[in-house]
């Protein structure tokens, strides 16, 4: 049974201040991760017991202010206002006290119980910044605890301080005074406005400040006379200060903070170059920045692909043996009908093996990303990559998910979460399938070896490069049409470099992995099982005479029927109706790309490789038809797992769009290549198909352009 907590505390602070480290210190492994209701903002909750008290800990998103401009800020503010935690642990970066105290000032205005912990003291010392703790404590009117993360007694010290703060009233007593003109306005609002309608158990001055700051959530609840009154007060303040009201309040807060900083911090005056600044002169350098960036990305790519490959093999072998072979034998012993045991072993068991095979690359990629984020390099990488990513309408950070796409599209789509806005996340997710994932490599190798006995490696390399070039062209197309809005103008902090903790990285990666297994895994399993059912259900061939002449068996699966039915659509790219095997293999590729090889091997029914190669070459008739087929495989819809991930991250609509859009691009490019190569054989047909391709492209451009206008308006 769930034990009701004695207290609930919440961790709050700016991004990159060590909030997650403090959360891990307090809760250890007793954590759960989810989303805040209705939004995709991560919600982390944990618990611990201290001096016989059960304490629940909520890790709030990292924010710079409580203005509710972003989803994170809104979630945090609403949590404090609605849930009234017993204590807020405000984590403040000692090496950047001034900026961190801005949020602290806003929390003090809310008059909530608060304990301040100072982190990054080592960096502050490195930068020769000396903070007079007693003095700061006295000014703020609440406890300030210095926290040295690597000290063994940190956990006990922090828990004791929290216990102390929970036992005593620890609401800060600092009175924040604004410019007289603002204070007069606040007083009028407090005296004249009706506050009951807001149904908030908070102090009037904070609400009055929110009204002055034109906070939509509260201003929308005002009556007409109140709105007029607020308008007049605002206008008067803005005229007096010659500034926007929001900035007047923000600047006044900074004035108070700067006065306080002068009092409590002792440092050398003037410009101080820090260690991080020195490192940045190399890392962000015009000449070294890009090579360093590519080297780091190469390391991430190598770790993800190389380190995970043997594990994937081991999982496929081990779990395949357990969940398919042994499980199948066990079901046989139970004398279950063949279709049930087949579905359970190959559908469900096989599906679980597929999900498990995604675990190593996902774990390694999230470990790499966590390391990059925690060390502070991620922001620098985003800055360096921004130069070229901006040309295709994406921010620099989008480079990392695209790189991950070479390993597997599923974690690549998950990695788009690190991007700041929805437009960038969707656009990047749409481009990740262009990066040939690890599963496509065996398909490329298999077919390239058949069509090009010499120089197959060049063909494979060419396919990888084609994917990159087409991703850039598609990026440009989407930038000009569907995503006409600019990538958001951004302000990004460059945090000081520091060594990430092993515990922090593992916790971070584990939570993401657990999220994938529990949530995305479910969807993937359903889709895989669904496709297996279509493959398993067979009907007598005699019922469909149109397909009878092409098959030797008596029954035909729904998947095979679908494959044969769609073959005519592939004729312009060189797949004749007699080569229906190739179409069926493409359908099975939706299940998993590597399944294309297995499907081709089983459908052409040749026992040795030599015969198989000859048969495939014979069915494709020309090498250009083979290359067109490879181009189609490179570009068409991503596998079921990736589609399920798109659905989960961006919704059904974007998943359907990705399926249709990418398959259409694949058809256009493959047909273009095949028809151009066949110009000498049949010029009339080539011209006809080039006309069709041009028409489809223009139509597609127009549709995307119209949709883009609507999308831009909705954004």
């Amino acid at each position: 049974m769930m034990q009701k907590p004695d207290y609930t505390i919440a961790l709050i602070g700016n991004p990159n201040v060590g909030k997650t480290t403090v959360f891990n210190i307090l809760t250890g492994s007793r954590q759960s991760v989810g989303n805040w209701p209705g939004v995709t903002v991560e919600h982390k909750e944990g618990k611990y017991k201290h001096l016989r008290k059960q304490i629940d800990v909520i890790d709030l998103p990292g924010i710079y202010s409580l203005t509710a401009n972003t989803l994170d800020e809104k979630v945090t503010r609403n949590y404090i206002l609605q849930n009234h935690p017993d204590l807020l642990i405000n984590i403040v970066d000692a090496s950047n006290l001034e900026r961190n105290l801005y949020l602290t000032m806003q929390l003090i205005e809310m008059k909530v119980p608060m304990l301040i912990t100072l982190t990054m003291l080592d960096i502050a010392e490195q930068n020769k910044v000396k903070i007079e703790l007693g003095h700061l404590q006295k000014h703020l009117g609440c406890s300030v605890v210095p926290l040295r993360i690597f000290h063994k007694d940190t956990e006990q010290l922090l828990k004791n301080e929290i216990h102390e703060a929970l036992s005593n009233n620890c609401t800060p007593n600092l009175q924040i005074k604004y410019d007289d003109v603002v204070e007069t306005g606040l007083q009028v609002i407090e005296d004249e406005f009706e506050f009951d309608k807001f149904k908030l158990n908070t102090n009037k001055k904070w609400l009055a400040l929110k009204l002055l700051e034109q906070d939509e959530e509260y201003v929308s609840q005002l009556t007409d006379p109140e709105l007029d009154g607020l308008h007049n007060i605002t206008k008067a303040i803005e005229k007096h200060r010659a500034q926007n009201i929001k900035n007047v309040i923000a600047e006044d807060r900074y004035s108070i903070i700067r006065g306080l900083i002068l009092d409590v911090i002792k440092r050398k005056s003037g410009w101080q170059e820090t260690w991080s600044d020195r490192i940045d002169t190399i890392v962000l350098n015009s000449y070294f920045g890009l090579p360093i960036f590519f080297f780091v990305m190469f390391l991430v790519f190598s770790l993800t692909i190389r380190a995970s490959q043997p594990l994937v093999g081991l999982i496929n072998k081990g779990l395949g043996w357990l969940l398919v072979s042994q499980f199948g034998l066990a079901l046989q012993a139970l004398s279950l009908p063949v279709w049930i045991s087949d579905f359970l072993t190959n559908g469900i068991g096989g599906g679980l093996v597929v999900i498990a095979s995604f675990i190593p690359p996902i774990l390694f990629i999230f470990m790499s990303l966590a390391w990059l984020e925690d060390s502070g390099y991620m922001s620098r990488a985003a800055f360096v990559a921004d130069k070229f990513m901006r040309r295709i309408g994406l921010p620099g950070k989008a480079f990392i998910p695209l790189l991950v796409g070479f390993g597997c599209t599923v974690p690549a789509i998950m990695a788009t979460r690190t991007l700041d806005n929805k437009r960038d996340r969707i656009m990047t997710s749409l481009l990740t399938p262009f990066m040939s994932c690890g599963a496509k490599l065996p398909v490329y190798t298999f077919l390239a070896m058949i069509f090009f006995t010499k120089g197959a490696n060049l063909v494979v390399f060419g396919l990888y490069m084609t994917g990159i070039v087409l991703a850039m062209l598609t990026g440009l197309l989407l930038k000009k049409t569907l995503f006409k809005t600019q990538p958001s103008d951004f302000v990004m902090e460059l945090p000081a470099y520091h060594l990430p903790t092993f515990n922090g990285i593992m916790m971070h990666s584990w939570h993401r992995l657990k999220d994938f297994i529990l949530r995305a895994g479910k969807t993937i399993l359903i889709v895989i099982a669904g496709i297996y059912i279509i493959q398993m259900i067979t009907i007598p061939v005699k019922n469909i005479p149109v397909f009878a002449k092409d098959t030797t068996s008596e029954r035909i699966s729904l998947l095979e029927i679908a494959g044969k039915a769609i073959t005519p659509a592939f004729k312009p790219m060189g797949i004749e109706s007699s080569n229906w095997h190739a179409s069926v293999a493409l359908l099975s590729g939706l299940f998993a790309k590597e399944a294309i090889v297995g499907s081709l091997q089983s459908l052409y029914e040749k026992s040795n490789e030599e015969e198989l190669s000859v048969t495939i070459r014979k069915h494709f008739q020309t090498t250009s038809a083979g290359i067109a087929y490879l181009l189609f495989i490179l570009l068409y819809s991503p596998c079921a797992a990736a589609l399920a991930m798109l659905w989960r991250e961006h919704g059904k609509g974007w998943m359907t769009f990705a399926f249709g859009f990418l398959t259409l691009q694949a058809w256009l490019i493959a047909t273009l290549f095949y028809q151009v190569s066949q110009y000498r054989v049949n010029p009339g047909r080539t011209v006809f198909w080039l006309g069709i391709i041009q028409f489809v492209f223009v139509l597609q451009y127009f549709i995307l352009w119209v949709r883009g206008k609507k999308y831009a308006a909705s954004v």
């Binding site: 710079y64 202010s65 203005t67 401009n69 090496s95 950047n96 006290l97 001034e98 900026r99 801005y102 930068n127 910044v129 410019d179 007289d180 003109v181 603002v182 007069t184 306005g185 009028v188 004249e192 006379p225 007029d228 009154g229 007049n232 007060i233 206008k235 008067a236 303040i237 005229k239 007096h240 200060r241 010659a242 500034q243 926007n244 929001k246 900035n247 923000a250 600047e251 900074y254 004035s255 410009w271 820090t274 991080s276 600044d277 940045d280 962000l284 015009s286 922001s379 985003a382 800055f383 921004d386 130069k387 901006r390 103008d489 951004f490 302000v491 990004m492 902090e493 460059l494 945090p495």
Partner: protein, 98 residues
């Protein structure tokens, strides 16, 4: 009540308050995007609330750590903070250079 607000608005507009933050700047005024690498500038006017909340407020000294014309962003230091600032925002921040 409406009358009271109107009256108060007029009264406040006529000069209640400190007058302390209205600064007159002599010398060349430019936008932050035009400040060269390793140069410092003082912010004269910034209407971008997001950056004001990050500390880039009027009167504050900003040091430009990197500003290459062909890059979409620049790197600035404000106190102990370092920011990558979109050039589009930097264009809107008015500064005074020495």
């Amino acid at each position: 009540m409406q009358h009271l607000f109107k009256h108060l608005g007029r009264r406040m507009g006529k000069g209640l308050g400190w007058h302390r933050r209205i600064k007159l700047h002599h010398g060349p005024c430019d936008n932050l995007a035009g400040v060269k690498t390793d140069c410092t500038a003082v912010i004269v006017c910034n209407n971008d609330h997001r950056t004001v909340e990050r500390g880039l407020s009027t009167g504050v000294e900003v040091r430009v750590l990197r500003n290459e014309e062909d890059e979409p962003n620049m790197v600035v230091a404000v106190g102990d903070s370092r920011y990558v600032l979109d050039r589009r925002i930097a264009f809107r921040i008015k500064v005074k250079t020495d």
